[in-house]
């Protein structure tokens, strides 16, 4: 490095130093410690004791853990794609000028910024099996609605349905992406006689594919660690633990049972699953993503 370069290096580093310190203390240290605790018997009140692989062995035999993982993945597999589709459709509907567009956009977006606690509370009420609004609406069209959160078969669908309500953020991102698609593409497609569906598949989807990818990855990461809504709507996991989510089980293991070693092992598993899914999704669709100028 020349002297100027060296000076710039130190200047740059000085500017980013708050983050570096923060990362070391609140990012890297906890991850390393979580990995270490996962091999320990640890309850915060007493010193951690190294016990080798025992926590991981126990995880293999813990069917509640596998059930929680199944519930979470089930939720992710349905809620993430469903959320993407809904968000993209809304964005497409809103993309062209329409009367009251900014109001519509605002109304879609509002649910994604209100406190999750309040949202969970509202859903508990709307999905009430006896006097809930949803079952009343269903009864109007002749459907005898289920007991939603009190019925093991319906707890996960309830959480999936209520998640779709919060697609506003993804929708706004899609909308921004759509605005960048040149009008000329659609015009020439129209000249070629391509219908709306064809235009959607061959122009819209490829053009916003980077946003799809971004939303997909974020959706996966967030749904695997979803904690607040299931915790409030089904604090003990719901009937037959059908709505027990992985992160909720982890939280309870750590902060109710104080089995922090075991919870750390679960945390490692969660981290691994997120990395694995992110990698797999990237591998799977990377070649299909269209980057401008690439």
């Amino acid at each position: 490095m020349t002297r100027g370069e060296r000076r710039k290096f130190w200047t740059g580093l000085a500017f980013v130093s708050p983050w570096v310190v923060g990362f070391l203390v609140f990012g890297l240290y906890p991850i390393v410690m979580a990995a270490y605790y996962s091999f320990c018997n640890y309850n915060v009140l007493q010193d951690a004791q190294f016990v080798g692989l025992i926590n991981y062995q126990e995880m293999l035999e813990d069917d509640v853990l596998w059930k929680a993982l199944y519930n979470t993945l089930f939720y992710a597999i349905f809620s993430v794609p469903l959320g993407l589709i809904v968000a993209l459709l809304f964005a497409v509907l809103l993309n062209r000028p329409i009367f009251g567009r900014s109001i519509f956009r605002m109304l879609f977006y509002v649910p994604s910024i209100v406190p999750l606690v309040a949202i969970a509370m509202i859903w508990l009420w709307v999905f009430n099996g006896d006097v809930g609004l949803l079952n009343y609406a269903l009864s109007l069209i002749g459907i005898d609605g289920p007991n939603w959160l009190a019925d093991p078969a319906w707890t996960k669908p309830t959480l999936i349905l209520s998640a779709i309500w919060m697609v506003g953020g993804a929708m706004v991102l899609f909308l921004a992406g759509l605005q960048d698609v040149p009008r000329s593409l659609y015009e020439s497609a129209e000249l070629d006689g391509a219908g709306a569906a064809k235009q959607f598949w061959h122009i819209t989807v490829p053009m916003v594919s980077p946003v799809i990818y971004f939303n997909l990855i974020m959706g996966i990461i967030y749904s695997i660690q979803e904690l607040v809504r299931p915790y409030i709507m089904l604090p003990d996991g719901g009937p037959d633990r059908s709505g027990l989510f992985f992160a909720v089980y982890l939280y309870q293991t750590a902060f109710r049972d104080l089995r922090m070693g075991y919870a750390s092992a679960m945390a490692m598993l969660m981290f691994f699953i997120i990395l694995l899914l992110t990698w797999a999704v990237t591998k799977l669709i990377q070649s299909r993503i269209y980057y401008e100028g690439a």
Binding site: A14, P18, I31, Y109, V117, V172, A267
Partner: protein, 329 residues
């Protein structure tokens, strides 16, 4: 003509979908203004009401002693006067003498605040937390983002990839060791674990600000450098004023995050006096056993209201901010 038909269909579709989207919120407000028995009514009515009858030539509110079904059937109905000096007086009336009047129970809000006991404290804590974290985030993130965008240095881009990667670390993974760390620091049982880390920057906001800083022409900095300004002075005097819209977005995001955060307070705040509104709301619910729906919805509405107001007044900035966060790097 078909174009117009298409437009109209689209508009109707949008209105229907939006209606569905907004219904839960309206339902919350509606429930929050009802007396308890009306919250449980099937079929539900959207508008809260009370019964009124003309007794001795005076229109007064009455309590229904028979069920609503009796009113529908039209038979003689037992009622009790619900207000005024003759309160509690029983009467038997004909259905035609009764009328429904819209009567929102604003008192539910007062009651909900009262039932939450520490509502003013929760509110104060939430505001303290929002203020501190907004200050912390704006300060740290803008400085760090400057280092990642306006200064050329070796290793900058590699390190920035690390910043982006940290966005993928799930909180549940780090929460156990963080708890131990904050315990060692003596932070548990205070608001500190929730605001101190914001003074060290958060990946998402650093990313947002960096995106914005990159769009500012380089020449501006160069000119200042030639004038002998230090990097820090350039940051303060030139870049920061220009980046006002982006900084506003970051401040807004952080405010919302702190206001809405539930998990952090759930873990770190042990004393009821330190609770934030989001946590207070959940404790209110768990205490209630969750069936006094009119109070619960009123409390939820109160927690939600500041967010909605903030959003309505800043929505343009907001949506632009979200759009900016899409990966265009």
């Amino acid at each position: 003509m078909p174009r117009f038909g298409f437009q109209a269909t689209r508009l109707i579709l949008m209105i229907v979908i939006c209606g569905v989207f907004i219904t839960p919120l309206l339902w919350m407000v509606s429930t929050s203004l009802k007396p308890l028995d009306q919250t449980m009514q099937m079929p539900p009515r959207w508008l809260p009401y009370e019964w009124q009858a003309t007794i001795d030539g005076q229109l007064v509110a009455v309590d229904l002693k028979d069920s609503e079904a009796v009113v529908k059937a039209g038979g003689p109905i037992k009622v009790e006067v619900a207000e005024g000096p003759s309160k509690g007086e029983p009467h038997t009336l004909d259905a035609s003498q009764l009328q429904r009047k819209i009567a929102p129970q604003w008192g539910n809000y007062k009651e909900a605040v009262h039932e939450m006991r520490e509502f003013p404290r929760y509110l104060r804590n939430s505001l303290i937390l929002c203020t501190l974290t907004v200050i912390g985030t704006v300060l740290s993130c803008s400085i760090v983002a400057y280092g990642f965008s306006r200064v050329e240095w070796k290793g900058r881009n590699t390190l920035f990839l690390v910043v982006l990667a940290t966005m993928m670390i799930p909180f549940p993974v780090t929460m156990v060791p963080l708890y131990g760390l904050f315990r060692e620091l003596g932070f548990i049982g205070s608001l500190k674990p929730l605001w101190v880390p914001t003074f060290f920057g958060t990946a998402f906001n650093i990313f947002l600000l960096r995106q914005f800083f990159m769009t500012i022409p380089r020449d501006l900095s160069e000119a200042a450098r030639i004038d002998g300004c230090s990097e820090f002075m350039i940051f303060i005097k030139i870049i920061l004023p220009l980046a006002k819209p982006a900084v506003t977005v970051v401040a807004l995001f952080q405010f919302l995050y702190a206001w809405n955060d539930f998990l952090g307070p759930l873990i770190y705040l042990t004393d009821q006096k330190d609770f934030t509104l989001a946590l207070g709301l959940q404790f209110f619910q768990s205490q209630q056993g969750g069936t006094q729906w009119h109070y619960l919805m009123a409390a939820s509405a109160l927690v939600l209201l500041p967010v909605l107001l903030l959003f309505f007044f800043t929505q343009r900035t907001f949506i632009e901010g979200v759009s900016m966060s899409g990966l265009k790097a």
